[in-house]
Every structure is written in C-alpha cells, then in structure tokens.
C-alpha cells in the first residue's frame, strides 16, 4: 500500500515538472519581455543589456538548468514587473483566491451530492426534473455571463450586494455562487446517475430484507458506492474551479492570484508566469492524486491490486 502511495506521489511530481518545463519552453519562444518592461522607444542597446541581466540571452537549456537549480534552493526568481521575489508577490494575494476557491469547492460538493441523491431517489418527480434542468443551465452558461448577470441584478438593480473587491463577508456571496455553479451542476448530475446505478443493485434489496430503514439504505449502503465515480470528477472540478478563478477574479475585481497570472502572461513576466502555473499544476495534481488515493479508501476491491 505504501508503495502505491509513493508511486502516485512520484508520478505527481513528474507531472508538475513536465508542465513547468513545457511552460518554460513556450514562454521563451513567445517573444521578448523587454517590450513590456522598457518603453517603446528605448534603444536596442538598452534592450540587449536588459536581456543579459535577466539571463534571457543565454541558450534555453542553460536558462532551464539554472531555473531548476535555483528553484531547488527556494529561489523562484523575481518578477520582471514587481521586482520582488515571486513567491512573496503571490503569497500576498493567495488568501483571497484560496478562501474563495475552498468555499466554492466545498459548497459545490456538499450541495451537488445532496441534490444528486435527492434527484435519484425521487426519480422522475418534479423535484428531479427541475433540478436536472437547472443543472444544464449550470454548466452551459459561462461563468462570466452568470457573474455579470448577478452583478447586474444584485448590485445594480437591487443594490443588495457589493460588486467588487473582497473587504467584507458579503463580497463573497456572488463570486462564490458564480464559481461553484458549474462544478455543482456537474457533481449533481453525476451523483444522480451514479446513485441510479447503485439503487438497482441487489445488495440494497438484501439490506432491506434485513430490516434496515430506508434512509440508512440510501445514505449508508448506496451513497458510499455511488461516490466512487463521483470522486473522480470532483478531482476534475478542482481544475475547473482554479481555471474559473481567473475569470471570476476579473469579473468581480477580486484581488487574487488569478489576475496576477493573467497579467503575467500579458506582460511576459516569465518568473511570475512560471510560478503561477507551478502553483496551479501542483494544486490540480495534488487534488487528483488525493482522488486516486481515496479510491482505495472507498472501494476495497481496488486495495487488493497493490
């Protein structure tokens, strides 16, 4: 079992390394960051000097090696724009994004699973049909459209909620709703179909024949089995939430790392971009690794394979 855990972690590390390498190579091919740092009419000599100081004139392989050598010592580089270590810059904005992401993610899972279970148990009832139609809207409407609609309704028309920034608890409401909508819809739909599959199984009939009350049959006997496929996409939803953060942060002027990354891409701030992608890759990979490991916990049949 430990061998499995170790091998999964090892594979996760490889994945992150690969992604960062890919970004590294692509950025070097994307163009000249000095165009953003120096004014347009700066002399060519100044640009050459700047590139030298940033180490961009060396061959890509040399840059690559020194990047990773520095990274292993904890030096992730300095932002071309902010002229400070990138990890400091990100750390300042981290809480905003993480708090929003965790909140949206947790609510998406909780409500999604609950709705899915209820829809499955009361299949074809009005509750089921309404919920499932709503979920279609949930994952087809792009989050920025939804976000803007919310702002329009609650900030402009009803003047109930603030539209930008994150200074109070009330500021969290709309961005959370926007961010959790797609994932919650996906989780609800998948939970419903997984539950429907499980609800047909013989072992539920056996449980009922033992006199087990129906609510226990649903939540103890069925749900645990239905969660196995659901857990897979929960891992994927994490990626969606992280990607969604970028958009949501833009729409709601949320001071988080999403906007930092977008700006870094626009201005070719390579160290910022690399670090940002590293964080995202690490978060998504870690979540998916935990999902993989949780299978073994949820489904004992998988444990035997190790």
């Amino acid at each position: 079992m430990t061998k499995f855990v170790v091998s999964r972690l090892f594979k996760a590390v490889i994945t992150v390394w690969f992604i960062v390498s890919l970004v590294f190579v692509c950025t070097r091919m994307s163009g000249d960051p000095t165009l953003w740092i120096l004014p347009d009419d700066a002399p060519e000599a100044a640009r050459i000097e700047l590139r030298e100081s940033l180490g961009l004139d060396r061959p890509v392989t040399a840059q690559y090696v020194s990047y990773f050598a520095d990274a292993l010592r904890g030096d992730m580089g300095c932002s071309y724009k902010y002229l400070r270590p990138v990890n400091e810059v990100f750390a300042e904005s981290a809480w905003a994004t993480v708090s929003l992401g965790v909140l949206a993610f947790s609510l998406a899972i909780l409500l999604g699973v609950l709705l899915g279970v209820m829809a499955a148990v009361h299949r074809n009832s009005p509750l089921d049909r309404i919920t499932m139609s709503a979920t279609i809207a949930g994952y087809t409407v792009p989050d920025f459209v939804f976000g803007i609609l919310l702002i329009f309704l609650f900030s402009l028309k009803l003047r109930m909620l603030p539209s930008g920034g994150n200074s109070t608890a009330a500021h969290y409401i709309m961005p959370t709703l926007t961010l959790m909508m797609g994932p919650m819809a996906n989780i609800a739909r998948l939970t419903r179909s997984a539950m429907l599959d499980v609800l047909r199984q013989d072992y539920l009939e056996c449980a009922r024949s033992k006199g087990v009350p129906e609510i226990v049959v649903i939540f103890k006997h069925s749900l645990r089995n239905a969660l196995i496929p659901v857990v897979t996409i929960i891992g994927l939803q994490m990626g969606i939430i992280i990607g969604g953060s970028v958009v949501v942060e833009t729409v709601f002027a949320w001071p988080g790392i999403g906007s930092l990354i977008v700006n870094a891409a626009k201005t070719r701030d390579f160290p910022m971009l690399q670090y940002g992608i590293l964080i995202i890759a690490a978060a998504v990979t870690l979540t998916n690794t935990m999902v993989d490991l949780s299978y073994a916990f949820l489904d004992p049949r998988i444990r035997d394979n190790f």
């Binding site: 061998k3 091998s7 090892f10 190790f306």
Partner: protein
C-alpha cells in the same frame, strides 16, 4: 477406434497468465495457469463434452482453441495441420462458436440480418441479395421467420436469441463448433427446444462439436465422449456411458454425486465434497485435486498424475484409481 485423422487435436496446449506488479508492472507476482498442458483429440462428427466448474479453465480452453486468444504453449491441429498465422483464416471460417449469454453475445445495434450476415460479409464476396438467399433458409431451419431479419436483438426472448446465435455460427457451413454453455442461461423448457435444435443441426450438417457445460445431464444428453476438467487439467476422459458406469477419478465421482437428481426416491445421503474450488494462481505441485480428495496421499502432493489410459478408451489422471472406483 479407427485411424481417422482427428478433426481437432490439441497438443500440450497451454495458457498461462502472468500477474504483474511493481510501479511499471514489470515484476511478476504469480502465474495463473488457466490451461495447463492439455492434449485432446476430437474425431470428425464427434461431440466431445467438456465439463467442469468455475475456474477449471474450460472457457479459456475454448478461446485458445479457436485462436481468440493466443496460447502460451503447445499447438492446435486442424485436420492434421497446425493452426498458425497462415492457416488461421481458413480455420476461422470452418470453426465457429456459440456463446453462453444470449443477452450479450448479439450486438444490440445490429439487426438480425446484419448479425447473421456478418460472417458472410467478412469471408465471402456475396452481395446483399446472395447473402439473403443463404440466410433465409437457415433462419427457417432454426425456427425463426423472415420478418425477424429487420428486427433487433432486444425484441427477442432468450431462447430466440440463442437460435440467432446458432444461425450465425452455422451460416458459413463450418465443420467444427464450440458451444460454450449455450443453454445455461435458459429456462428448462426453452433449453429442451434449443438442445433438440442443436442435435438436429449437428446430425444434418455432420458437425464436430466441443460442448462445454457445468450441467452433467445436459452434457450427457448431447455428447459422445466426455472430458472432465479441474484446475486447468483434464482429469478424466471417456465415452459417456462408460464414464457413468465406471467412474475412475474421485473428482468426477464427487461431481456426479453432487448433482441434485430430479427423483426424490434417490435422495443422496453421501457427504458432499468439502472445500472450495482452488485458485488457479500458482497451484501447488502434484495433483490439482489433492486439497479436496479424501484419498490423497504423499505421492499425490509431489507428483502430477498423467492422463493415462486405464481402461480401453478411458483415461484418468490419478495415481490411485486402478479402474472402477464407482459413483
């Protein structure tokens, strides 16, 4: 027996599966010896029944025989010649299979005409009309009507689907058919219909058959000779009446004992065979039946008994039965 070339001959046929472990699946944890050196021959127009319980390897044997999965050792001879890459297409045309589950062996998205016609499309250059001319009389012979052609499998009952499976297997006029538990999933009265149909087809088309089942009474009804399989090995082989009259191997005897007979006057009071079917992963040396055999001795644990001809035409793989253990 005559010196006719057997239509099908298996020589030391083997199918081992390796269980892999390690991060990249490169180390072997064990070997599943699904089929362990089986030698068998089936004479032309003979029906050989193969009986055994779960895990004995009978289904694997049928698939390796037909080339649906490659053997890891030994060879299959068809009409005296080995089946290899060159001779496989011809073999595939003349050797067909009827499957166990009528609900999953027909593609739900193909209509009956397509299902039965598919072998013709693969192996011949007949056009649609010519194919129909072949399919229609066959359909009638298996007891279905022409309007079945445009229908889909889900519109038919289990027994009817099995008839379709039989038609599909016979459309290329094969010489050899493997039937893998074709009636196990059917009700008693439907089973009888299918068995009768099968017996008739066998006779009119002079088919050679390998009939696999776990049901002794069905196997006895349809076969000429019977082979008993246990954990990848053949443990007894004899002409059917002889097998019942003179059971040699203790496993065969236990099997016969265990069958509930539809005759209350014969309620068996003999103790059922104890123990579980053993796992085919890394079996112990010696006789495969040693873990459950009441008469197992030291020699059984060390030495694998060979399938010897203990009586004329009657083979058994046991160190200690010298003829006539009895049922």
């Amino acid at each position: 027996m005559t010196a006719k070339t057997p239509l099908i001959e298996l020589r030391d046929l083997q199918k081992h599966y390796r269980i892999n472990k390690g991060i990249f699946g490169h180390r072997t944890r064990g070997t599943v010896k699904a089929v362990d050196s089986i030698s068998l021959s089936i004479a032309p127009e003979e029906t050989l029944g193969l009986i055994g319980e779960s895990g004995c390897g009978k289904s694997t044997l049928s698939r390796v025989l037909l080339g649906l999965t490659p053997a890891t050792g030994g060879e299959v001879l068809y009409d005296g010649r080995p089946v290899n890459r060159r001779t496989l297409p011809q073999f595939r045309r003349e050797a067909q299979m009827i499957f166990q589950d009528p609900y999953s062996s027909l593609d739900p998205r193909m209509n009956i005409e397509d299902i039965i016609g598919e072998p013709l499309r693969v192996h011949t250059r007949l056009d649609r009309k010519a194919r129909r001319d072949v399919i229609l009389p066959l359909l009638e012979q298996v007891g279905l009507s022409e309007d079945a052609l445009s229908k889909y499998p889900h519109e038919f009952s289990g027994g009817q689907r099995q008839r379709i499976g039989i038609a599909r297997a016979l459309v290329l006029e094969p010489r050899f058919i493997v039937c893998d538990e074709p009636v196990s999933a059917l009700d008693m009265s439907i089973q009888a219909q299918i068995l009768n149909l099968f017996a008739e087809m066998k006779k009119t088309r002079r088919l050679t058959c390998l009939f696999i089942s776990h049901d002794m009474s069905v196997v006895k009804h349809i076969s000429d000779r019977i082979a008993v399989m246990y954990l990848g090995h053949i443990v007894e082989l004899a002409e059917k009446e002889e097998l019942f009259r003179n059971t040699l191997h203790p496993y065969t005897a236990a099997l016969m004992n265990a069958i509930p007979v539809p005759n209350p006057a014969l309620r068996r009071k003999i103790e059922p065979l104890p123990g579980d079917l053993p796992s085919p992963i890394d079996p112990p040396p010696g006789c495969p039946f040693q873990t459950r055999c009441a008469a197992a001795q030291e020699r059984c644990r060390r030495e694998m008994p060979a399938l010897n001809e203990l009586l004329p035409g009657h083979f058994a793989a046991c160190h200690f039965c010298k003829g006539g253990v009895g049922a």
